[in-house]
Amino acid sequence: MNGFDKVVGSYEEALSGLVDGMTVLAGGFGLCGIPEGLIAEIRRMGVRGLTVVSNNCGVDGFGLGVLLEDRQISKVVASYVGENKLFEQQLLSGQIEVDLTPQGTLAEKMRAGGAGIPAFFTATGYGTPVGEGKEVRHFNGRPYILEEAITGDFAIVKAWKADRYGNAIYRHTAQNFNPLAATAGRITVMEVEHIVEPGELDPAHIHTPGIYVDRLIQGSFEKRIEQRTVRAG
C-alpha cells in the first residue's frame, strides 16, 4: 500500500463527497462501457439536482435512466437522448433541462476540460441552433464557433483493467467517452472489471494514466446490449 493505491473498499467510499447539485461526467456510449455500479450507488444515495454530462442518458430502467426514475437529474448535457421515454416525459413537463451538444464537440469539451484548454474553435454547429449566441470567427476563410470546456465535480467511468495506481485499459469500443470523462472530473472514480498489480500492464498500452484517477473500485457488470444484431454463423 502507498499513496498511489487508488483502490477503495466500497461504493459508498467511491462516491463519498457527491452531494446535491453537483455536476457528474459519465463515460459510456449508449449502454456500452457504463459504470453500472457507480450509477446504482448514486441512485442509492438519493442525491438530487444533478447535472449529468454524458453522450446519452441510458434507457428506461438501465444505465443513467435509473436516475431519472427518482428525479435525481435536473440537467443533461448529451448528444442523443432518444432511447428513453422517462426522459422524454420529464423534458416535456419541464422537470429536466437538456443541453444538446454535438457528439464530437462534447468529446472535445471534456478533453479540453481535462487538458486545461478553456475554449476552442470548431466548425461543428456553425449556422445551426448549436451555434446561436456563440462567437463566430473565420480562420482561413471558414467560419468557426467558440466552444467552452466542460469539467465536473465528479467523473464516473468504466474501464476493463486497471492497476492499483489507476492506470487503465478499456476493452474494444467500451472506451468511447470514458478516457475523456476521466480527465475532466475534479474527483474521478473508476469502476473496472479487473484490478491488477502495478507492473502487470504494459506502459505503452495504458489508455488512461493513473494520474487522472482518484478512486478505483472493482465492479460486476450486466453489460446490457441495446441493439443485438447478428448474422448467420
Binding site: A107, P129, G233
Partner: protein, 219 residues
Amino acid sequence: MALSREQMARRAALELKDGDYVNLGIGIPTLVANYVPDGIRVMLQSENGLLGMGPFPTEDQVDADMINAGKQTVTAATGAAIFDSAESFAMIRGGHVDVTILGAFEVSVRGDIASWMVPGKLVKGMGGAMDLVAAARNILVIMTHADKSGASKLLDDCTLPLTGAGCIRKVLTDLAYLEIEDGAFHLRERAPGVSVEEIVSRTAGRLVVPAEVPEMRFS
C-alpha cells in the same frame, strides 16, 4: 420509377474509391456497405471509436463491448483500430475521413442540410451528425426527393433547423443524382424511367437542367 432503397445504396456505392475511409449514417447509408463494387475496398469508420468496422457478429461472437455508432453489435475488421471519442472526432473534424454518406430531411441550393430536428416533435439530439457534415470533404446525402406529402426536400432555403451550413455538394434521391454548385442543384443523372419533367416538378429549389441528363447506372 423511383429507386428502391437498395438501388439508392447501389448507386451511392459507386462514389467510393479503393482505399476510402468512409462513415455511413443510419438507414439507407448503412446499406451502401453491401454494394461496394468488386475490386474496391473501403474501411468503415464508426464515430463511437472504431476504424475498420466489420460485419455483424455471429451469435457466438456477440460482445457487448463491441458496438457501432448505431449501438448495434458489430465486429472489427482485419486491420482495425479502436480509440476514444475525442480521437474519433479529431479524425472526422480534421477531414481525414474521405467520404461521409448520410440521410437528411432537407437540403438547400446553398448546401445547407437539415437532418436532426423537426420543431414540435421531440428533439432526440444530433449525435455526431453536425460534426460529420462540418468536417467531411466529400459528403453524399441520400434521401427521398419529396416527403410523404409530396413536398420537395430540395429547397432554396431549408425550413428546418440546420445540421450544417454550406457543406453539402452531392445529393442522391430516389429520382435523381444532383450536385450543388453556385447556388443551384445541377441535375446529373435521372433514375431509370423517371423523366426530367418529374424531377423538375418535384424540385422546389433552383434547378439547372443540362441539355442531356443520362439515366443512372448502377455499376
